[in-house]
Amino acid sequence: MLQHPTEANIVNGCIATAAASMVMIGAIVTVALLTKYRLWSVLWSDWVTSPDHKKIGIMYVVIAFVMLVRALIEAVLMRGQQAFGLGGGFLSPDHFAQLFSTHGTIMIFFMAMPFLTGVINYVMPMQIGARDVSFPVLNSISLGLTAAGAALVMISLVIGKFSTGGWFGYPPYTEANFSPGVGPDYWIWALSLASLGSTFTGINFAVTIYKERAPGMKMMRMPLFTWTALCTSILMIFAMPPLTVATAQLALDRYLGFHYFTNALGGNMMHFANLFWLFGHPEVYILILPAFGVYSEVISTFSSKVLYGYRSLVMATMAIAVLSFTVWLHHFFTMGQGADINAVFGIASMLIGIPTGVKVYNWMLTMFRGRVRFTVPMIYSIGFILLFVLGGISGILLASPTIDYQVHNTVFLVAHFHNVAVPGVLFGMIAGYHFWFPKAFGFRLNERWGVFSALCWIFGFMLAFFPLYALGIMGLPRRTVAYTEPSYVPFEWVAFLGALLILAALALLLWQLWVSIKHRDENRVFAGDPWDGRSLEWSMSAPPPKYNFALIPAVKGRDAFALAKEEGTAFQPPDAYADIELPKNSAMGPVIAAIGFALGFGLVWHIWWLVILAVLAAIATMIIRGFARDTTCIVTAHEVRQEHRRWLNAVAMATAVSRSKEREPANAGLAEREPQGAVS
């Protein structure tokens, strides 16, 4: 920038420097605050080494929010560039390419994935009546690996440059010939760390759901969110390996001169597309299924009704999980394979719309004649239903190979996948955040700011992405930094306005959090059931004790806690308490995170001593962990009894509120029994 002080260079340089400074300042401020308030030991012993699924879940969501802020700012920059993009704009093509690559990579791997993993981590064990996941330390390791990957992406802002090859990093462009820099290496190792973490997470969740359910919690009695968590975990287990293979082979090409995807000597770049989408398509459903689960819980709770067609929703979820492995080719219809193949995969892609459609009817019929309250999660859910159906329809259009050929590689596609990803995944996760926040922290989030934020998200989304459908049909290719067609300009400006509105939505969300923390004492819900909840996570104090259940509940049917409240068996002291065995804190998570980060960084910059050291350290850590015994500690029956009695007393003291007052300070987390027959 200083050697060539043109206006464009200065603008690009300023943006890059600002971004790097934000990372640095963020890191320095965090360190300073932790030191000032002497929180290092709290952070270490209460958080990063904790194997408690609830804390791990919260840490995942924190990572997701930090990454969301960065990726959203990048999105606004890109929309801004395109608004001024008629014949130029203010960003260099290389800078623009970095922006869309990091935006996509972060949104998928370091925003959506940690967000849903965090929410599942927090909620799922409580919903099935378990004390923790099956492998708590592995859970902490998964978090460490994800955090290490996220840290690599963040450090790329300061040291070196990130990939310009898009979030899927197609070779041969990302091969050493065309991208000799460190960009693709950052991409490869950040993804490898995150995907390893996700594989372990998937295994952990699936085993937990299979093996740790409370007595009586049969599969067909599990809350729908747990069902979607199960299907997502299964997808993680089986869909992550193709990604690992694809990135590993690309790494071998780049580092050791292999010829998997090169142009010369028998390499075949098309195989990368095949491998990547073998992962990529199930990934789409990894992201959306937990959101479907959240909507199911939210809509049923805020309609005070049993979920309509539970069995069909479960079947639809499973059908989607299996079908998602049969449609990957629709991401490269135009690559040149035979028409028969395109037809088969096109039909499979359309089929997957059927179970999804079933779900939409289920949600609508759950609301029908229910006692619907327009709380924040409910606003997101309704926004989701309306917008997601549109995204689904554009998806069905794209599933037809003939239409796909017409709009291939245009922003029509960008509009489509944002139309399913934003109202689908992101709204779902934010709805879940509002829904379970009082459970996790013991106080409700501010409603008013929440509503403002939700409306900004919804309308911002519509403004930002509907014009892209039109632009796509008008022929604007995706990932173009500038264009020469003046008729694009008005649409681009509307989209830019939408992006700004979304940025405002995020700012409002953070403001809401700040306001809520400030007024937390007026909104306490210690009794634990602010929304008249239906599943077991509402049957304990908010925040819950570290062992979740003082006594593992005996489940008698679907909507276990609603059933208990109806029968009057909720909030009853047990006859006797027993000692509870919990996993001890373990440094495995942070240690693996540090090793993973060192390994990734060493590989990116070819610092071989660091790589060797990190590999040896990883092996040594695993061996030492193998020799660890005495990994559990006991919470005595006496402590459990005291804590449980304190909560029961608080419940007895609390005034039950009716549903019309659930958003007011009077709501202390105890729900009034509805008169018989008030809702069906």
């Binding site: 142009n263 028998g266 098309m270 195989h271 492995f325 049969t326 690559m335 040149g336 193949i341």
Partner: protein, 118 residues
């Protein structure tokens, strides 16, 4: 069949079961040896057309895998259902992914004149 009955198992029965399991491993290695030696011998000595030979190798391999699953990994149909489900589901996905990949890549190779043989 409750767990308690099993706990009270007599030592004699315990011995018998050990013999049964030992025999299972012996059967396993015997069959595996047969199924390994046969295709190696065919490839090395026999003059069978290439295509038939490939099919024979494939059949031997699949049968030997089943033998290993049965006699070394003790997979049978007396499993609890979820475990068998896991293995069958994995096999299904593996088939979809591998067969799909081969199908797609073969079609591409046929239509796009790959620089393979350059």
């Amino acid at each position: 069949m409750s767990e308690r009955i099993v706990d009270n198992q007599a030592p004699a029965e315990w011995k018998q079961q050990e013999r049964r399991e030992f025999r299972s491993y012996v059967w396993g290695i015997g069959l595996a040896l047969l199924l390994t030696v046969a295709p190696f011998a065919l490839v090395h000595w026999a003059a069978i057309p290439r295509f038939s030979l490939l099919i024979v190798i494939g059949v031997f391999a699949v049968v030997q895998m089943l033998v290993h699953f049965r006699f070394f990994l003790h997979i049978g149909f007396i499993q609890k259902r979820e475990d068998l489900q896991l293995i069958l589901f994995s096999a299904l996905l593996l088939t979809i992914m591998v067969a799909g990949t081969v199908w797609i890549m073969a079609s591409l190779a046929a239509r796009m004149v790959m620089p393979d043989r350059l």
